[in-house]
Subunit: 340 residues, 2 copies
DNA sequence: TTGAAAGCGCTAACAG
DNA sequence: CTGTTAGCGCTTTCAA
């Protein structure tokens, strides 16, 4: 039977003070002055008993969990570890921890993860919403829990809700990539778009269409293939695209993971990249420069996106900001390499 | 001013029962029988008020956080997202969430992460220990918090401590890779070993040495290079190795990330792989098959390692197991590809 | 079958 | 300057 963990009460007794005083020195409360000598006695007792604060009790009383929740599609997609690190690194500076949830593009899982916030598991939330809408978030927001979206935020938001958004313009970014392909002489350009009816896909498809239109390239819906945002999704989509007659001369994949699946499909089919088919991705994951041929893609600065998202949450949490929704557009960089 | 969140007390009043009854129906307590009609009334009140349980209060009272902490070097190393997913997937099945901490191979950070467990933030712990020893963990373990190590567990452990370990034998695995290199005709084999004085490095170096010895290949300490477990660490180490005269004809990198850095160094130096220098990695991260040339490596089944680690923790948590430390050796597979 | 009551360990008024 | 007090919202005896 392990000895029960010492509490503030025990420390107080050992130091010959009241339990409140222990709390004061522990939290270095400014509104109260503790005699240096008393403080020393308390600290000695803490050290001697090996007292460690109980985080749960502190949370219940202070109504803060010192935790933020991050809801992403899949940590296994190399874009997200960088993003999560950005969040974690920022959180750590503030003595916050982060709970991460994977939704795998599943509606129910996305909702389930949201529950973490509703059940007071987290003081703030960062989410890549696939299915959830602002309306769905209102119950959480109106409870005072700040949320940062990692997609663009459209429409009106009641000005008193602690909601912000930070992301690139998916459409502008996709347009940049496709315009690059067009500038390289391609006019028959396929797209591997990812999971349908999700914000990342829709914005990127939109950008693709805009680029075509701007350059008077006719749109052919047949050239847009779905799948999910995984390597195998890209593989399947590319196989479909390769079966088309005539074949596209270039393909834009809405993320690098799919682009890599596509690369494998090409390799298997004996189709050379970029000679027979040019291929561009999206995200600039670490592996992008290592594959063969190195992937032309678009860098959206995952780590600093994570940092920024966390900063937005913290600015609400510490009262630094309390105005209407901020809608931030982050920069991105086209990274031309050898695949297109 | 948002209306205060309803509590069990509010639900009780609305349903005309006592607060305890609300808790009973919420937790479906078996030792107590609730009239179906009462239960229905309570559930109606819950729905009407939009009651959501307060996780923190529940934790304080029940002394369980429904959280496990995972302490890893760096989520940005592609080996770890898979591992973490294994942990998360297992945790989710049990309605547990996971808090992830990155140490970046830093001693202070590793200790700081450990504090999460000590402060009752987590019911169990999974850790890739770099600096922490079993002795350091005793205070946590003797408080009843189970821990699973992701390295081999050596020495004696008091039988009543809830400590387990699950991992491959790093030495056997490294030996397998190096033996393969020797079988391919190499005798001058360099090693890029990773961060010194850490368990992953020491076991892999040990396996390397054993393989050489078994095949009567003389050991040359000069051929073992350190660095950290990152791509740039591998890059630097390979540059050193390439500068040696005579140059090694093969190199074993203790993880794939370093192998990829090494690949870049070779490419820059105009040294062809595998013709002029063979290169083998360790981990079989997703990018390993995509680089050029595809990397010969060793798969250590990250996802199922994560699952297993979590299962060991949960078996302690739910009382399924309470015996002495389990030391599990997981399987691994050599994956010959084109780089060696 | 249900209710009353006692805390879990802590923070934060408020008194002294 | 320090102590007293009142809960935070919940689970879990124990009584009725």
């Amino acid at each position: 039977m392990p000895t029960a963990r010492p509490t503030q009460h025990d420390v107080a007794r050992a130091a010959g003070v009241s339990q409140a005083v222990v709390s004061y020195v522990l939290n270095d409360v400014q509104s109260v002055t503790i005699l240096p000598e008393t403080r020393a006695r308390v600290q000695a007792a803490i050290a001697e008993l090996g007292y460690v604060p109980n985080h749960t009790a502190r949370s219940l009383r202070s109504r803060r969990t010192f935790t933020i929740a991050a809801i992403i599609p899949d940590i296994t997609n190399p874009y997200y570890p960088e993003l999560i690190r950005g969040i974690q690194d920022t959180a750590r500076d503030r003595a916050y921890d982060v709970l991460a949830f994977n939704t795998d593009g599943d509606r129910a899982r996305e909702w389930a993860a949201l529950d973490a916030a509703r059940r007071n598991r987290a003081d703030g939330l960062i989410i890549t919403p696939f299915f959830v809408t602002v309306d769905d978030l209102v119950p959480i927001l109106s409870g005072g829990t700040p949320i940062t979206l990692l997609t663009e935020l459209r429409g009106n938001v009641p000005p008193d809700l602690p909601l912000d958004a930070t992301s690139i313009s998916g459409a502008d970014a996709a347009r940049t990539v496709v315009s690059y392909l067009i500038a390289r002489g391609h006019t028959r350009i396929g797209m591997i778009s990812g999971q349908i009816a999700t914000p990342p896909r829709e914005s990127r498809v939109h950008g693709y269409q805009r680029a075509l239109k701007e350059h008077h390239v006719p749109l052919e819906v047949n050239l847009i293939r779905g799948g999910d945002f995984t390597e195998s999704g890209g593989y399947e989509a590319m196989r479909e695209l390769l079966g088309l007659v005539p074949r596209p001369t270039a393909v834009f994949a809405a993320n690098d993971l799919m682009a890599m699946g596509a690369l494998i499909a090409c390799r298997e089919a004996g189709v050379t990249v970029p000679q027979e088919i040019a291929l561009a991705g999206f995200d600039d994951i670490p592996a992008a420069k290592l594959v063969h041929p190195p992937l032309t893609t678009l860098n959206q600065h995952a780590h600093s996106t994570g940092r920024r998202a966390a900063e937005l949450v913290f600015s609400r949490l510490d009262g630094t900001y309390s105005g209407p929704a901020r809608r931030e557009r982050l920069g991105f960089d086209l990274v031309p390499r050898e695949s297109a």
